[in-house]
Subunit: 336 residues, 2 copies
């Protein structure tokens, strides 16, 4: 399996990207990695890393989309930047997957331009994993498709269901639709229509209906579907709340202690890692004919390694084939 890694994407690129790639190569003998980015920067760094195998090659790209750049502008100005090159390699079947910790809007925009969608997919969506009291909850979409239409949400229900089953290993994921109340008929036109379409589609057996914001974390649902504007806000609200609470609670509790303060500090640090970190290493853009893993901008080498590993899992578990099958079955079910 060949994977293109956007060497220039992320707050700590390219150093952690190179380290993560080397770790992944050691762990996963079946992969080869194309390190995509500025050769003049990458060549000396790779030489210094001490890596001497042949499964890691550098593919040159001119520039990259900065974390604060407007994605569409940047892609127009730098058509051969690192993330655009990754997508071209996937479109040309030179690689099976791409991984980037760069500007999320840039990763998505470059992907949408290739139109490299799976059969029957109307719009790809990002599925992110959030910590929950029972383990994990998948939230989809978190920003690839702001203003998603009902038929997009219905497809996300199907894609999120397959992802949770195949990658998180939840045998029968409970799929819910984000709404402002659990009763039928709640919410706006988009969610009411999406509700009907999900019931008519392949995710129906696992669909538990409307869920509310608090259900994301309380263990009552495994996959929460929403349009991208809402999902993006929910994701960032969760991150912001988690960070504020960690800081406030750690301050309050450790300052109440004396002799055992050091024990509390290390317990907080440990717990913080479980909130901030997931072993999947990023979020897949599902619905793509190929594999696209988007990692957090603040990714370290371990996150990059895990994102590469998850790309392998997505391929090994045949997630795309299973999505296509389920979408096909849904299309038949709703055909007149």
């Amino acid at each position: 399996m060949r994977i293109a890694l956007d060497a220039m994407g992320g707050d700590f690129a390219p150093a952690v990207n190179i380290d993560g790639a080397i770790e992944a190569l050691q762990m996963l003998p079946e992969i080869e990695i194309a390190l995509v980015g500025d050769r003049t920067v990458l060549d000396p760094m790779l030489a210094r890393s001490g890596y001497s195998g042949e499964r890691l090659v550098i593919v040159h790209a001119e520039g990259h989309v900065g974390m604060d750049e407007k994605p569409t502008d940047a892609l127009r100005k730098k058509p051969d930047c690192s993330i655009a090159r990754c997508w071209k390699m996937m479109a040309g079947k030179e690689v099976d997957a791409l991984v980037s910790a760069g500007n999320t809007g840039g990763v998505v925009a470059a992907g949408l331009w290739t139109k490299l969608f799976l059969k029957d997919v109307k719009r790809p969506g990002i599925a992110v994993i959030l910590p929950a009291s029972h383990g994990k909850t998948v939230l989809m979409d978190v920003g690839a498709n702001p203003g998603a239409r009902p038929e997009h949400l219905a497809q996300y229900a199907i894609m999120g269901n397959v992802f949770a089953r195949e990658v998180l290993g939840i045998a029968s994921p409970r799929v819910g639709l984000m709404n402002i109340g659990s009763e039928d008929g709640k919410g706006n036109d988009t969610v009411r229509e999406a509700h009907q379409l999900i019931i008519a589609g392949a995710a129906r057996p696992n669909y538990i209906g409307n869920v509310e914001g608090r259900d994301v974390f309380n263990g009552s649902v495994d996959v929460v579907i929403c349009e991208g504007f809402l999902g993006n806000v929910v994701l960032k609200v969760s991150e912001g709340m988690a960070s504020m609470m960690m800081r406030t609670l750690a301050d309050t509790v450790t300052s109440a202690l004396q002799d055992e303060r050091h024990l509390a500090i290390s317990a907080f640090q440990q717990a913080g890692k479980t909130f901030e970190y997931n072993e999947v290493g990023g979020a897949p853009l599902l619905g793509i004919d190929g594999i696209c893993m988007i990692s957090h901008g603040s990714s370290d080498a371990r996150s990059i390694r895990n994102a590469l590993k998850t790309a392998v899992t997505l391929k090994d578990r045949g997630v795309n084939q299973k999505i296509t099958q389920a979408l096909g079955a849904s299309a038949e079910a709703v055909a007149p």
Copy 2:
């Protein structure tokens, strides 16, 4: 000042409502309270409470909107229920304010039916106070107006600004618009249009532009404006995340300790209170010609007391007059 208290609203009604009312009467000599609800239930409870003054009267109402009832159905079936009666009293100028910890949808629906809006207000909205690293952030609207139009959001910017200044005492509140990126032009049509309208209106001097989900908690904004579907999800996501984190962190940290475990437990309990609780006692429905305080369903006597107290503050600070002035100034500014 006369206040109608929905005696039947809330998970612990009417007991905590009566206790909260009596506490408020002791604290606030200028108020009289109409306890609105089933006289056959309230009469003996009030007798048992030992309250003997004349500033607390019972006003009979038939039934109430249950916490899980569909508000519009319940209000049709029970047109003289406790919350409907509260609103009728406010519409008839028998009271200056109402307070309810009942079904939020019921409180809002009964209010919208009275059409008791302040001059120039297109749609009322609920302003809730969330904990943040710098103190507090106002989030508006959290569900009174799902699918708010741009002109509604622009009015919320003005109302939220007045509320934060007059009730939270923030001299010059920073007002932001919830979006999925901070740059101009981000987001959907509604927020882009709202952005232009806010710039043209009375909240402009305090408007800092687009903010993101994480800004709600990090101290970079005092008032966050959003449409009601989004705000409702954000509020419930925050509640759910806070509850999950409190539980997980308390478990992890206290189980790492020995002799000082009891100190950590009480520090967690103390911190939990600051997250779950606010001294305002509820959230105002702003834009009403009158005062409507909506308290959490799980309110205790202290929350009810504080909501009654905040109703007094809203009147004393002339929040409605200031909203009307600011809306009038905005209407002139944008007039052709």
